[in-house]
Amino acid sequence: MKPKITNPITGALLLAGCISTQPAWAAPQEKLTVALYGGNWGEAFLGCVAEPFTKATGIAVAAEVGTSTTTLAKLQQQKAKPTIDVAWMDGGISELAYAAGVLDDLDPASIPNLANVQDKALYRDADHLFAVGSGYYSLGLTYNTQEIKQAPTSWKDLWRPEYAGAITIPSPANSAGVPFVFFLADVWGVDPANLAPLYSKLAALDTALYFDSSGAASNAFQSGEAIIGAHFSVGAWDLIDKGAPIAFTLPSEGAWATDTRLHLIKNGPNNAAARRFIDTALTKEASACLASKLYLGPAVKDVTVADDVARKLPWGVGGSIDSLKLFDWSRINARRADVTNDWNRQVTGKQ
């Protein structure tokens, strides 16, 4: 027979005892839900962060796989009672999530490793620290080494007649599409306030395809449909590592870059464990692991990686965060609708 607890004070004391002797994150039945991307990204996040986290705390991690935009849509739908605790989302979507009010502030007291993160990778709005960078990647100039013997040195080389019909750049449906328009405006010296001259340049570019997804770009480079164009560092190096005749370069104008970020979800079911998870992701070990698996540029200070990994980081040999062209996402988000509409009419419509 079970002893009955009749006295409410005894019950309360027992309950309090349970709480004080067991840290909140150590409850064995606890399960942390983390939103992350699919494919090699998701595998790397799980291997580099979730595994060590589960080993240290005993808390299982359930992955909620989706792109940043899907994750944001889910977070908006479940705003009243979220099931996701932590979410990886790209730069740009991160700002939209903050504006949608689904993010909780990151508190350095409960996430001590925030102190090891480069200041540029801490995203604040007034005194709200709403996101922390988990690794940088860039959109570099990628080309087929069998078809193109002399390495291109400028983004303007895309317009050379010999590449006509075999070029690829991101479409506005891709997360890099709209910022890439601003990046090219910078390359061509076009005033971002009036992008019309750039659109006519883009309309004159004889592309094989505008890619919606990183996978479509990889596919185009692999099949030879595209021999030159823009591609993400993560996707391009993955192709190169698999033996495809592809090279990834950072031209003289540099490359547009962005990052994947970690977010604590407001009113998430396991808040304490979620903070601990983010803290684990910000260790040097996790950061170095992501660098070696995805060639993500670490946002954590003083991370050392092997030489072969170092040259594949988004900033190349001898570079650092400062060599990346990181744009102000709030400015880009404000222009998202009109750049997309103008692109439809003045670039796609003119094909």
Partner: protein, 280 residues
């Protein structure tokens, strides 16, 4: 007696509940968004005016329905003879069964995989271009990807089975005695086809065509992959608004416009079927 009425009601109820939960409710959300202002949720027709007062959208609507109509036409021209072959010509049952399996099996694979397959086949270095250049038919690779022709090829491949199955079913229900009677009375095979077989199978053709047309008009994956973003159809504009611009109001209006235009086209097709069907 009571049981006899309860079962159909139950079956109807299940279908209605499913329809309400997975179509009507989400669609109500889309209609609501398309009619409201994102700032204060007040009623507005602005999003529809933005869609319909812009020549660009009419151009995209034209491209969307041109591709859908051509897909339907080509599927019909390829599918009807194939259905006729399967139903009337093939005598050996196992072979007919094998043909139907060959026709249906690709439908078990996702559209994405099949469209990627066409991207490989139709590419600059793809099998189709290699054969064309190798056989000396053309000097340099033909551009398929990023053209309406490329989208059309992919769509016909994916939607052809619907026509074959619908037309085949209609053909199988026509007693061959009608055709024999027609030729006994002196009609040429041509006249028999146009005056006997075609009118009798018209309902099947119409229903297959409506299926193909609506699926082609609303298709996203195939046009998105095979157009390489160089041609826009309505579904791609809708996806852009929902996934990249996050303007659910404008995206909602585009969705409703696509639905209404498709319904109008289907209504017109239904009328054609009725007129022909009513004729003695």
């Amino acid at each position: 007696m009571k049981r006899a009425t309860a079962a159909p009601l139950l079956m109807l109820g299940a279908a209605l509940a499913f329809f309400a939960a997975f179509f009507l409710a989400p669609f109500a959300v889309v209609i609501f968004a398309s009619l409201t202002n994102s700032a204060d949720q007040s009623f507005t027709l602005d999003h529809y005016i933005k869609v319909l007062a812009d020549q660009y959208h009419w151009d995209v609507i034209l491209v969307t329905f041109r591709i859908a109509a051509l897909t339907t036409l080509v599927s019909l021209l390829l599918g009807y003879p194939l259905a006729w072959y399967l139903v009337r010509v093939v005598k050996w049952r196992a072979w007919r069964r094998a043909c139907v399996i060959l026709l249906v099996v690709p439908m078990f694979t996702s559209n994405i995989v099949r469209s990627f397959g066409w991207m490989v086949l139709l590419g600059r270095n793809g099998l189709v271009n290699q054969s064309l250049v190798g056989s000396g038919l053309v000097d340099s690779p033909v551009r398929f990807l990023g053209t309406e022709l490329g989208i059309l090829i992919g769509m016909v491949y994916i939607l052809l089975p619907f026509i074959v199955l619908a037309a085949g079913n209609a053909l199988a229900q026509v007693d061959p005695a009608y055709e024999q009677a027609s030729s006994d009375l002196g009609a040429s095979p041509r006249a028999t086809f146009f005056h006997v077989l075609l009118p009798l199978t018209l309902p099947g053709i119409i229903s297959g065509s409506i299926m193909v047309f609506t699926l082609a008009a609303s298709a996203y994956v195939t046009p998105a992959l095979l157009s390489g973003g160089r041609i826009s159809v309505l579904s791609m504009l809708i996806f852009q608004q929902y996934s990249s611009v996050f303007d659910f109001n404008y995206g909602g209006a585009l969705s409703v416009v696509l639905l209404i235009f498709t319904l109008i086209m289907v209504g017109l097709a239904g009328r054609v079927g009725n007129i022909r069907g009513d004729r003695p």
